[in-house]
Structures are given as C-alpha cells and as structure tokens.
Symmetry: C2
Subunit: 204 residues, 2 copies
C-alpha cells in the first residue's frame, strides 16, 4: 500500500505535463507540439506516452485544467490583497500581470485555445474564464449593490479587456508595457463608471 509504483506513475505524468508546458512559447503553440517531442523531453519512449494519456488532446485538456487552477488561485490572492486595503482595479490588474510574467505559457495556452481548433478546448477555456467572470460579478454585485445582470455584463467586459491586454503585454516590455497597463486601467474605469450608471438607473 506504499504505492511506490503509483507514485512514480504520477511523477512521469507530471513530467509529461511539464514538458508540454515548456515547449509552449511565443513561437510554439499546443497544436504544433508532437507527441514524440513531448515524450522525449519528459524522458520516456514515445509509445509510453499512451500509458498516461490516450491522446495529445487529453494531455491538452489536462493542461487547460491546470492553468485554470492557477487562475483561480490567483483570484483568491487578489481578493486577499484587496481585503487588506488595496485599490480594487489596480490590484486586480497587477495580480493578473504577475500571472502573465510568472506563468506565460499557461496564459498562452488559455489565450490560444480559447479560439483554437478543438471545440472541447474552447469549451474548457470558456468554462475557466466564466469562473473568473462570475467571481468578479459577485464581487461587483455585493460591493456596488447593482443589478446582477448588469454586474455580469460589467464583469464580462472587464475580463475581456484584461485578457486581451494580457495578450498584448506578452509582446511588450518596460515603458510600452506601463503605458498599456495605464490604458487598461482607464478602460476598466470607463466600464465601472458606465456600468454603475446603467445598473442603478434601471432594474433589468
């Protein structure tokens, strides 16, 4: 019951996932990955891959889950920072930018597979992003007391803009990056202000 065996299996499984993430980059997307290359980097024979995943697709979906998990942990962290007295908007943006810097390949996966060639991938990413939106929507609803439908639309718009800015940030450094963040913050203010206006003016 020690499970030496099962433990090792988990280890190589994780090695496969890690190898795949390592091979993602600005110039290499998931659909460019080959089973053989991933297996090679993980240090196993190509055919051993099948002991862990029936498919590259299955690997990919697992990776999306993992990236989604990171994203959720991120949200929790942001909430903690805000609770201990940070500005809502800039704290959130800052936290998200840290995600992009620390786990660029996880972000790239979500970013690309959101509009990728597999419906399963697109749905999986959409699900993760929806979590993100719903959390923010609840926050907005509680904080500003606005209509829940408007809160959702507001949150959706915000997440969309943050995500897209994140994608652009991947290609930027230094000053142009700061400009990007500044623009992003203004745009979030627009949505916040406009959203609150309409949310309070009407009931649906």
């Amino acid at each position: 019951m020690a499970g030496v065996r099962a433990q090792q299996k988990l280890k190589t499984r994780q090695a496969l996932i890690e190898a795949a993430f390592n091979q993602l980059s600005a110039e290499h997307s998931f659909s460019n990955l080959s089973l053989r290359e991933v297996a090679r980097e993980a240090g196993i024979a190509p055919t051993s891959f099948y002991r862990h995943f029936k498919d590259m697709n299955e690997l990919g979906l697992t990776m999306v889950d993992e990236a989604g998990l990171t994203l959720r942990q991120l949200m929790r962290q942001a909430r903690r920072r805000i609770a201990s007295g940070g500005s809502v908007i800039s704290t959130s943006v800052l936290t998200f930018m840290e995600f992009i810097d620390n786990q660029p390949n996880q972000f790239r996966l979500l970013l690309r597979e959101r509009s990728g060639t597999s419906k399963a991938f697109r749905s999986a990413v959409a699900r993760e992003i929806k979590h993100f939106i719903l959390e923010l929507a609840h926050y907005l609803e509680n904080e500003t007391g606005c209509d829940s439908h408007h809160a959702y639309m507001q949150a959706e718009a915000m997440v969309t803009i943050v995500f897209t800015s994140g994608a652009e940030a991947l290609d930027l450094e230094g000053h142009s990056r700061e400009e990007l963040v500044e623009r992003l913050i203004w745009q979030l203010r627009y949505i916040s202000f406009g959203g609150n206006h309409y949310a309070q003016k009407t009931n649906s």
Copy 2:
C-alpha cells in the same frame, strides 16, 4: 502586352489564396495547413507553389492583408449606414456580425493569428486592428468632442469587446447569439458613457 501569361499567373495565385481560406474552419487553423494540401485544392503540383510564394508564411501574410482589406471595406459600409441615419452602436455591431457570417474564415484568421506563433503575423493583424481602432477614435473625437487620448482608449476598449464577442458568436446560433449581441451592446454603452464622462472631466 496582352499579358495572357501574367493573367493566368494571377489567377492561380488567387486560387491558392482561396484554397487556403477554404481550408480554414472551426477545426482547422492556418498553422495546420500544409503546403501540399493547399496546392492540391488549388489544382497545381506542390512544387509549383513556390512560383507564387516563397513560403506558407508569405501566403499567410497575404491572406491577413486580404482580410484586413475586407475589414476596411466593412468600416466604410458601416459609416455609410450610420450617415444615412442608423444608431451608431447597433449599426456597427450589426455590420461586424455580418462580416463574421459572410467571411467567417477571414475573421478566424485575424482572430487566431492575433495571438499566433509568428511575430510577423501578430504584427500584421495588430496593424489591421489598429486601423480599425483609429478610425473609430477619430469618429468619437469628432462626434463627442472629447479628448483624443481618451477617444483612443475608448475606441480600443470597444474594438476589443466587439472582436471577442465576434469570436464567441462563431460558436453560437439563434437565441444565444441574440443574447450575446444584446450584452455586447450594453457593454459598449458602458464604455461610451464612462469614456465620455472621464474625457470631459479632465484634459489628459
């Protein structure tokens, strides 16, 4: 000087471009395309491909240009509709949705290569989208008389949201699609209202 020769060359060149667009779909992205398959669908031998493009990359960039052209024609059409008395926001959204329905593969190309694996592609798409944003920014600046920097940020946010909604619309039909459009319009109102507020309150 009749150019029977050159004319034929242009024709097969266009056939290659068309074949490539035809092979794009929800399940097939540009980087999945193979030179051989494209040549096959265009009705020429694989090696003849090189008489027209040195690379699949070169073909792809040409395709991005073509999609960008369509996008610009679209803008002109939207402006005409607005000038002849349509609501700005809903006319623009409607026009954009027509683009997605009529040329889904051109849209898919822009959408995917925006965050694709080739920097050249990303820049090319970014350039086309920037045109779009600048046109809208000028319109906003003239129409509402707001600060030009704010007009740009406002336009950028709007285009981002429209683009992302377009991506989602590709997977939707009927009622859920109408809901999406309705949400999109609300979100554009948020940005418009919030943008105007901040643009008038301050000078930079």
